[in-house]
């Protein structure tokens, strides 16, 4: 899988999770939300997490 394809897959997963959780992601928000997710992923990588994909279950779910 190419780097680009992995990135797109993470974005799709992010949008899907947000929709499942009942959030409305406006069209104009998608790019900024992806960028914000990118910063979070980079922090998670620095932290040394095993899996840096977005997930539906957070601590409090």
């Amino acid at each position: 899988m190419t780097k680009h394809a992995r990135h797109t897959s993470a974005e799709d997963q992010l949008y899907k999770i947000l929709a499942e959780k009942g959030f409305v992601l406006l069209d104009e928000d998608q790019k900024a939300a992806s960028a914000a997710w990118g910063v979070l992923t980079s922090m998670a990588t620095t932290l040394g997490v095993d899996d840096n994909r977005p997930q539906r279950t957070r601590r409090d779910d």
Binding site: L18, L25, E28, D29, A36, W37, L40, V49, R53, R59
Partner: protein
Amino acid sequence: MTEYTIEDARLHGWLADIVRPGQTAANALAPLSGLRYFAKDLFDIEGHVTKAGSRALSKNPPAKKSADIIGQLDGAGALFMGTSNMEALAYGFVTNSPIYGMAKNPFDLSRICGGSSGGSAALVAAGLADFALGTDTSGSIRVPAAFTGVYGLKPTLGRLSHSGVVPLSPTLDRVGLFASNPGTLQKVFDCIDQGAEADPTTVPSPRIAKLSGYFADDVSAPVSEAIEDFCQRNEITHTAELADAERARAAAYIIVAAEAATLHEAGLRDTPGLFDPETRTRLLAAQAIPKSWLDKALEQKQLFQQICEKAFKNADVLIAPCVPCIAPTIEEVLAPTIEGQPPLRASLGVYTQPISLVGLPVVALPLPTKTGLPTAVQLIGRPGEDRRLLRLACDLALRNPS
């Protein structure tokens, strides 16, 4: 610096909702009598809606009572002047509220004054307040203190009341102070401190070590030179290293994002249009942070705590830059982000976020730079040694007159 008026404060984006100039002290003998102060827009003021710089909270009912700390300050005779501008929901280092606008730096109005407590810092720097209340989760007191050249205090958890203060990240939030001089900072802290620290006059002079490694990398020349000069003048020759600081920063970032996402989850679902787009998208992305990241971040918090404890075996106070650069221009922070690179504003907390993770008390001590703009150094102490740090800040100010 230019002399500023309250009208200038409104024009330059330092004020929030409430302005009460011209009040007089009820008790001239009270310890803070005659001292004017502003409170960041996230402290409850009885009868007013606490907006935290965001329309997302503007539908909330007015506060039934003022934050405890406001009551303490009133009791001590301080003059409440009003509320100050802040970054929306305290989530960022700029202070560009969708309600109150961009807070400009009193030293150079084309530059930012930092955030999220930027209005408070600017009002003190501009001479319109003797002190101001702020909060610091990731650096929100230390960053604006550095950009505006005022003293800042981020105390140990539990020293100042958080009651009636809008949270961002309950794990890392700290209520703190700005002041134009360390004596005022100390005097105000003495009146509102809930701790039981021993009298710092009875302890020997602290051993100070400058943090190297992560905290010396990527510092811009003006900031680095100012800190070198400070170390030379004060004969600070020892160095210390905090391993894993980069991981500590990442852990702090993730904890704040996840906790902020939780706090605003209902609002994001019910009234997303009330959030400014940038805050909304950051909070939305954080809704998908996996539990495993938080576990890892909390694990890192414990590890970094041990690393810090080890460093404090050989030093009583650690010093580090507050910020990597002098205050950026407004144009620089508003420029579109280059794809694949984090925005400039996110990097402003690079030296404050690791320290936030373990909740150490910090005094931001302002320093001049050759550019004519200020910066500041973090005086980082052991948990609970807040008064000792303030005492050191007073001693250093006497030894290094500005």
